[in-house]
């Protein structure tokens, strides 16, 4: 009975797999993956923030409860995640040797990988970005209270938020990104198998990044170009540096805000283009600020003090007023779109996994969000989940591990 069940599954695998493939036919415009599509793991900062420069097409945001029972187990967990980030991000050929920690040592044991990527695994620009939540530092189990970065709190609830408990919480987040959807799935499954018993999913959501239509910044699900203005790395608004008042182990890290925002796309599609443009502050077709012609043009708010060209409550004007005082509140945004099935009212459950990286959540993300409090667009969006995390510094040399500074 048992053996039959197993052989049946194996025998049926081929047919089932080919059925799946035809159901999710590869997009014609997908370029073949090159073995050179590798984002280096080592560095002062983690990948998945400014690296790779071109944001990957697919992502998974997976928040976990950490069930490690003591500091030693937590350290081993972080070491395991580091090994996984290295192997997954490096690409892996069928004939390549694996570290002994990856092998069960039992002949005939279930395969070490799920096979979803075939036997030769192209990295597809895979990056793993690890963030830790306040709850991990607060846990008496690990004794890390003194290491907690300043300003790492629970996610603030803003006036129009409709937070659903099942979409919040978690001690640790993994942002997994790659230029192929199957690689993101493969990576999460591989990591979870390797950390079974130590990590338990709290919530997870997958996202997709659109291609530029027709060029420039990709469009969000409201049809507008999004992420046009992002601070460059040398503007130094993202990474924690010395003298910031943060614990020294945190230098090279950054704060990550994840907000899962439902977008009422049916409602949005019933609004006239002029009103849409005024809510956003840009022309939908070109992405240019209202009154300008190119998406990269800078709006001239000084000569538009009454909002006759760009309304005073337009999203881009409130988010980034382009003044000396608000310049420091800019942040790196690296969000993904999501789709999640059907809402009770029959609408598509779809929206944005807003993700931002910054040195200071209160002075950047929260200050910006506070300015946006009553923007007209709030009627069309419903933030319902997410969290605040601290993205630990990068690993600078082989043998190091993510979060090593916590144990120094």
């Amino acid at each position: 009975m048992q053996l039959q069940r197993r052989s049946f599954l194996i025998g049926a695998g081929g047919a089932a797999a080919s059925g799946l493939l035809s159901a999710t036919a590869v997009r014609a415009d997908d370029a073949p993956e090159a073995s050179s599509d590798v984002v280096g793991f080592l560095g002062e900062n983690q990948a998945g923030v400014y690296r790779p420069a071109s944001q990957q097409q697919s992502a998974c945001f997976a928040a976990f409860k950490v069930l490690s029972r003591d500091t030693a187990e937590l350290k081993a967990l972080l070491q395991k995640l580091t090994v996984k980030a290295t192997i997954l991000g490096g690409g892996h050929g069928a004939g390549d040797a694996l570290p002994s920690s990856e092998l069960s040592g039992v002949d005939g044991a279930p395969p070490v990988n799920s096979g979803v990527m075939g036997e030769d695994i192209a990295a597809a620009n895979f990056t793993l970005t690890l963030g830790l939540a306040a709850s991990l530092f607060d846990s008496p189990v690990f004794g890390l209270a003194a290491k907690k970065p300043k300003g790492l709190t629970d996610m603030k609830v803003f006036p129009k938020d409709q937070i659903e408990e099942e979409w919040t919480g978690g001690d640790l987040i993994l942002q997994l990104c790659a230029d192929s959807t199957d690689m993101v799935h493969y990576a999460l499954r591989d990591i979870m198998k390797a950390t079974r018993g130590q990590l338990q999913l709290q919530w997870k959501i997958n996202g997709f990044h659109n291609r530029p239509r027709p060029d420039g910044a990709p469009r969000n699900l409201f049809g507008y170009k999004d992420g046009i203005v992002n601070p460059a790395q040398d503007e130094q608004l993202v990474w924690i540096r010395g003298g910031s008042g943060q614990p020294s182990w945190a230098e090279g890290g950054t704060f990550m805000v994840v907000r899962i925002i439902r977008m009422l796309v049916e409602f949005w599609d019933r609004v006239g283009l002029g009103e849409q443009d005024n809510m956003i502050g840009r022309h939908r077709a070109s992405g240019a600020p209202l009154g300008k012609s190119k998406e990269t043009d800078t709006p001239d708010y000084a000569s538009d003090p009454h909002g006759e060209t760009v309304p005073l409550n337009a999203h881009i004007r409130l988010a980034n007023p382009r003044t000396q005082e608000t310049s420091g509140s800019r942040m790196l945004r690296r969000g993904y779109n999501y789709e999640l099935g059907v809402d009770l009212n029959g609408n598509m459950q779809a929206g944005l996994i807003f993700t931002s990286f910054q040195q200071n959540i209160q002075e950047q993300f929260e200050a910006t969000q506070t300015r946006l409090a009553n923007e007209p667009m709030t009627d069309y969006i419903e933030p319902f989940g997410g969290g605040y995390f601290f993205v630990v510094p990068g690993v600078q040399k082989d043998g190091g591990f993510l979060g090593e500074g916590l144990f120094a």
Binding site: M1, Q2, K65, E166, G197, Q198, Q200
Partner: protein
């Protein structure tokens, strides 16, 4: 139809009474292990039959609370047999089939056995509907008991059983998909852990020869799972798994997942391929 007044949680059950060991140490050969398993199953079936007789009496008397308890005793006795994936063929399948694959699910007249009785008890059904189902169950238990001596358990089946009893726990009980109204998945999961421990004890010596220290590691992981399940009890009663606090569910799910990853190495360890 009015549902009976059901207390929100059923009384917790301890581990099933274990038979006295019939030999000093763990079985030394797979044939010995199979023989020990046969003996163990025969004893569990005797208990199952007693619980089903009590169930029949309680249903006949209209004593719903006692009937529910007797059902749980019977279902746990069946879980402790470790009958994963229909190991006793059609005879075993008749005792506790699920409602999958039946049109209209639990309402289908072809739905029988222990889970059908669970459905009835938790959906206000009485003696008129349930006594025939219970009598059929008794017939099936008798048939399995009678055939047991000649129902050979293949030696290769024992390692798979050690692994897959808890796969059933995850697939049927903790997923909520096997539930027919009782919300007692955790009580059944607890019996599954004990059944896994019993099979582990039977294979302990053989397994330790194949991978020294492995049975001890499994002992530790099963103990952690048992503790996580027990920690969900409130005032000694079981809670519907869907209503257990997330942090407690995460502890159970994590411990079960950890144990399953280890248990999946048992069949290949015993494989002679």
């Amino acid at each position: 139809m009015t549902a009976p007044a059901v207390s929100p949680a059923r009384p917790a059950q301890g581990a099933p009474t274990r038979p006295q060991p019939t030999q000093a140490g763990p079985p030394a050969t797979m044939d010995d292990a199979v023989a020990a398993y046969h003996e163990y199953v025969a004893e569990r079936l005797t208990e199952l039959r007693q619980h089903v007789l009590a169930l029949r009496a309680n249903v006949g008397n209209g004593d719903v609370d006692s009937a529910m308890q007797a059902w749980l005793d019977a279902q746990q006795a069946w879980q402790s047999v470790g009958a994963a994936y229909g190991s006793f063929g059609d005879l075993g399948s008749a005792i506790a089939p699920g409602s999958r694959g039946l049109e209209d699910g639990a309402a289908n007249p072809d739905f029988t056995g222990l889970r059908r009785i669970e459905y009835g008890l938790w959906h206000g059904q009485g003696a008129g509907e349930l006594i025939p189902v219970i009598d059929k169950l008794l017939t099936d238990v008798d048939a399995l008991e009678a055939k047991l001596p000649e129902t050979a358990v293949a030696p290769s089946d024992m390692p798979l059983r050690l692994h897959e009893i808890l796969e059933d726990t995850q697939r049927d009980h903790l997923s909520g998909r096997g539930d027919q109204g009782s919300g007692l998945a955790l009580a059944l999961a607890r019996a599954d852990v004990d059944a896994t421990q019993e099979v582990l004890d039977m294979l302990r010596g053989l397994l330790d020869n194949l991978k020294s220290g492995f049975p001890a590691r499994l002992d530790g992981e099963l103990a952690a799972l048992r503790a996580a399940i027990d920690a969900t009890q409130k005032d000694g009663a079981w809670t519907d798994y869907a209503k257990v606090a997330l942090a407690e569910r995460q502890a159970v799910n994590a411990a079960l997942g950890r144990a399953l990853e280890s248990l999946s190495l048992v069949p290949p360890l015993f494989s002679t391929d």
